[in-house]
């Protein structure tokens, strides 16, 4: 059965759900067929995936130096 074509706007609308695997198998198939033919949408998909990887990396929100010590000193007073 042929995959039904899908527009770029429809692809953008679902990119996040695509990355989170929260779309139907039919929609996934349509989007994958679109990515094969559309360099713009593939660039957006790759970039969005990179964003998720970057912000999910623990190093982005590094705690300030001495954070733990100061926190426990404060807590110590209460304990």
């Amino acid at each position: 059965m042929a995959t039904i074509e899908i527009s770029c706007v429809e692809v953008w609308r679902e990119i996040s759900n695509y990355l989170d695997e929260e779309i139907s198998p039919e929609m996934r198939e349509r989007m994958e067929a679109h990515f094969k033919a559309c360099a713009h949408c593939t660039a957006i998909l790759d970039g969005t995936r990179n964003v998720v990887g970057l912000v999910g990396d623990g190093r982005v929100f590094r705690m300030p130096d001495g954070f733990s010590n100061r926190l426990y000193k404060k807590l110590q007073k209460l304990l």
Partner: protein, 226 residues
């Protein structure tokens, strides 16, 4: 078939680890409430970064985030014996931190006569990407560079509060849609919409810099001034 079995095995192992963690935490909570107050250190230590990241997602600056985190931990201690285990302990901590951060922000804004709602971006209509910069996979060592980490933080800070908080809870803290919806007090579809927009906005703001200018040693501001 074998892949499916491995997935099931991994899933079972993860659920096991999760239930073991919940049991261990429940034991520690019981100890603290029975008077062994020092056990609270052990309970909170694994979640320090999570607490800090939640605080900074609202406060945006490290000094305020640290104060909020400290206050949230003190509040968590004071209310610990009222924790009923209806959510994960970590989610409960994030909720306390988020509430504390929001409360402070409201106080500060009242002082400045500003409304938080003024800064909300519209969630209606489709999102149109600003450009189609091709972004090759970035080596994770790049995140060792302060400049890159700062650029990512700046990009996150440039999002409106609703987008930023949703992104941090979902993509930084890895909370589920359901947990995020409960913490932010918004519907699950709203969580998905905000997350989607936050990710696409970040891509728009980061892609040209990361792929072109930063890796060639030029300041990212020349690529895109946000």
């Amino acid at each position: 078939m074998q892949g499916e079995m491995e997935d099931l095995g991994l899933h079972a192992k993860m659920s096991m680890t999760q239930s073991q963690l919940r049991a261990d935490e429940a034991k520690l909570i019981k100890s603290v409430c029975a008077g062994e107050r020092e056990a609270f250190y052990e309970l909170v230590r694994p979640y320090e970064r999570m607490i800090y990241a939640t605080a900074i997602s609202v406060a945006k600056n490290p000094a305020d985030a640290e104060e909020i985190a400290q206050e949230a931990v003190l509040k968590a201690f004071s209310h610990l014996c009222g924790f009923r285990g209806e959510s994960k302990f970590s989610t409960w901590l994030v909720q306390i931190t988020y509430n504390e951060a929001k409360m402070r922000l409201k106080k500060a804004r009242r002082h400045l006569h500003e409304s938080i709602d003024d800064q909300q971006q519209s969630e209606d209509g489709d999102f149109w990407p600003r450009d189609y910069a091709d972004w090759r996979p970035i080596p994770s060592e790049l995140l060792e560079q302060n400049e890159i980490r700062q650029a990512v933080q700046d990009a996150i800070n440039s999002l409106s509060p609703g987008y930023r908080e949703t992104l941090v809870l979902r993509d930084v803290q890895h909370l589920s849609v359901k947990e995020t919806s409960a913490i932010l007090g918004i519907s699950e579809p709203a969580v998905k919409t905000r997350l989607h927009r936050a990710r696409l906005l970040l891509r728009d703001r980061l892609a040209p810099g990361i792929d072109g200018f930063w890796t060639k040693g030029q300041p990212y501001r020349k690529a895109r001034a946000w």
